[in-house]
């Protein structure tokens, strides 16, 4: 029992940190630009595929730097030549634009790399078990993912809250004209922030690619849960996203390890024989674990629409 609790806690934190790695870019873009980027997971996927291709050619470590830079450039170009023009037509047009972009990116990735999963390996340097808890190994690579996630969180907080750059960027969102009059190029600020956000997603992709499966539907798989993280944490709140990621990671992991169902809890009250409700009655918590985050999303939207740490109504 103790073993399962200890291991589930560790697994939960690890998965939560992976979620944060992906959600941080989405949060940055939303909090800075006010754009909810539906194509965010697609940039995560681009990061994974660029990372795979580059690590084939020049090794994993250079790829970890170059792949996000490439994806970031594409992101910046998307903002400069696409989103900026769409922006005039309001938020709905923006949403639809990024929505369509997600499909377009998936199609392009399929054309170039095909539909089968890539053979993307963990770098040899990190391919060993870091430590063992109750005979379960924890790979060094997962510890590396954890470290990168925490480092990004701290670095982002410092840049946004403590530096001049962060101040200008935040001001550009609420008072673009004032910032413009002060001599800053507002358009370029937006482009940089968007590119930076997509590069963050790509970092997550390069790192998660070897740990998860790198294939053309990976964006679709992780896209929805990123929105859960961002909404539960509070739209635009970086600490909120951090907490929500951990919460969801732990929630899902612990739910999987619980085999209890309504039938086993209220056993003596159950009517015998099959009935219409017997399916619901017998479903175990483990079986519904992957949908629990979405239930949390619904509850949060009903009872605390601004999210855990959010400051403004969405």
């Amino acid at each position: 029992m103790l073993e399962l609790i200890a291991i589930s806690t560790l697994n939960g934190i690890l998965f939560g940190m992976l979620l944060f790695l992906m959600a941080s870019g989405l949060t940055v873009i939303f909090s800075m630009l006010g754009v909810l980027n539906f194509a965010h997971a697609s940039f995560y996927m681009l990061g994974a595929f660029f990372g795979y291709q580059l690590s084939r050619w020049i090794g994993f470590w250079p790829a970890l730097v170059i792949a996000p830079a490439l994806a970031g450039c594409i992101g910046a170009a998307v903002e400069r030549y696409g989103l900026r023009n769409v922006h005039k037509n309001g938020h709905v047009a923006e949403l639809l634009f990024t929505f369509g972009l997600a499909f377009a990116i998936e199609e392009v990735v399929q054309m170039i790399w095909g539909k089968a999963p890539m053979d993307y390996r963990v770098p040899a340097l990190l391919d060993f078990p870091a430590f063992t808890v109750f005979s379960t190994n924890y790979p060094a690579y997962k510890m590396f993912m954890l470290a990168v996630a925490v480092a990004i969180f701290v670095a982002l907080l410092v840049v946004l809250k403590k530096t001049r750059i962060g101040m200008i960027v935040q001001a550009a969102l609420t008072h673009p004209h004032m910032v413009g009059h002060l001599g800053h190029n507002v358009g370029r600020i937006f482009m940089t922030v968007f590119g930076f956000g997509t590069a963050l997603a790509a970092v997550a992709g390069v790192i998660a690619g070897p740990a998860l499966v790198t294939q053309s539907n990976m964006a679709g798989l992780l896209g929805p849960i990123l929105f859960v993280v961002v909404v539960v944490g509070g739209l635009g709140s970086l600490p909120g996203a951090f907490i929500a990621s951990l919460l969801i990671g732990l929630l899902q992991t612990f739910a999987v390890s619980i085999n209890a169902s309504l039938a086993s809890v209220f056993g003596p009250l159950a009517t015998s024989g099959p009935s219409l409700l017997s399916d619901i009655w017998n479903v175990s918590i483990a079986q519904i674990a992957p949908v629990l985050p979405y239930m949390l999303l619904v509850l949060i939207l009903i009872f605390r629409p601004m999210g855990l740490l959010g400051t403004r109504e969405s």
Partner: protein, 414 residues
Amino acid sequence: MRRSLSTALMTAALLALPLCGGASAEDTVKLGYIDPLSGGGASVGEVGFKTFQFLADELNAKGGILGKKVEIVPLDNKTNPQESLVQAQKAIDAGVRYITQGNGSSVAAALSDFVTKFNERNPGKEVLYFNYAAVDPVLTNDKCSFWHFRWDASSDIKMEALTNYIKTVPAVKKVYLINQDYSFGESVRTEAKAMLAKKRPDIQIVGDELHPLLKVTDFAPYIAKIKASGADSVITGNWGQDFALLLKAAADAGLKVDWFTYYAGGTGGPTAIKQANLDHQVFQISEGVPNLGYAPAAEFEKALRAKYDFSLFYPRAVNEMRMFKAAAEKANSLDPVKVAKALEGMEVEVYDGGKGVMRKDDHQFFQPMYISSFGARNDKEPFDEEKTGWGWRLVAKIDTPNTVLPTTCKMDRP
């Protein structure tokens, strides 16, 4: 960019199909291939299409069927039952009298039903449905049809063979079941439990898990449970990324158990096993794999690999096409009713060697089944998979009589 070209060509072929429908109907035998050629299942459907194309070329090189050339007509169903019916109707209108399909038992059930009703309403224009991969047992039991023939072993047959093997391995003492939460996964788990209880009552089922289909991104929590249960073996029907991610998580956590699977050889499976470094610890039940050492099959495998960049995952498709030709020649006709009657009870030498028989009662094909493991190769194993360097090794062969299961089918015959 080769892929985009092939996609473009296939699209062109799809578009051109209705145009060239009537003209060449006289001198070709058309087989409508209804499977996903776009969307999530496209990678699987594309491999199937090329496999059938290759088989048609093989037949044509030897004079076709009754002197007529075989033509495979690709029809994209997007893994959707409704779309499949639309495509089937379209194919029939274009002169197709034979259709084949494999991916998804829900699609198969819809098609079988459609073909049966169509044939009732259109005597003299009957259509036959050759199923090469949909394994839901119900298709040859309660929902059986005279117009449906299945070349793949049903999931019950596979479990029968798998448990017959497990029966002989004393090291297996604690088994964990993990499956996808839908009809196929459900049938794997219930049959595994029932058959193990009968054949090896001493085996303990230490876990019985259903997880959502293609929704789990991290299987670490499931692996933690398997580990905590003390299992020495896992039985899983998982396919696609659910299989790959499960194995990856197991490898990360250092879980060392034996894996008994249905679809370890599916696209991406061998890559995942190699990455997880599970050398000959993953077993698969199938009607054949490369490296069985049967010379004619090795020749075929070499020819297929020389033309395409994949290995043969569907030995049953080879049996299907060769039996199609044999049945037509036995009946000396291409009339579907006569071909169907010739297929009933037909005995053949199967692709990987040995006897196979199409049972008359339910139109289920019975053939030798093989349990093979995936890992490092020796000198006698020439074929690797997905460029991993690893390949399949024969572990056990289950002869045809030991795969036969009773059926509940009550068939209406014309």
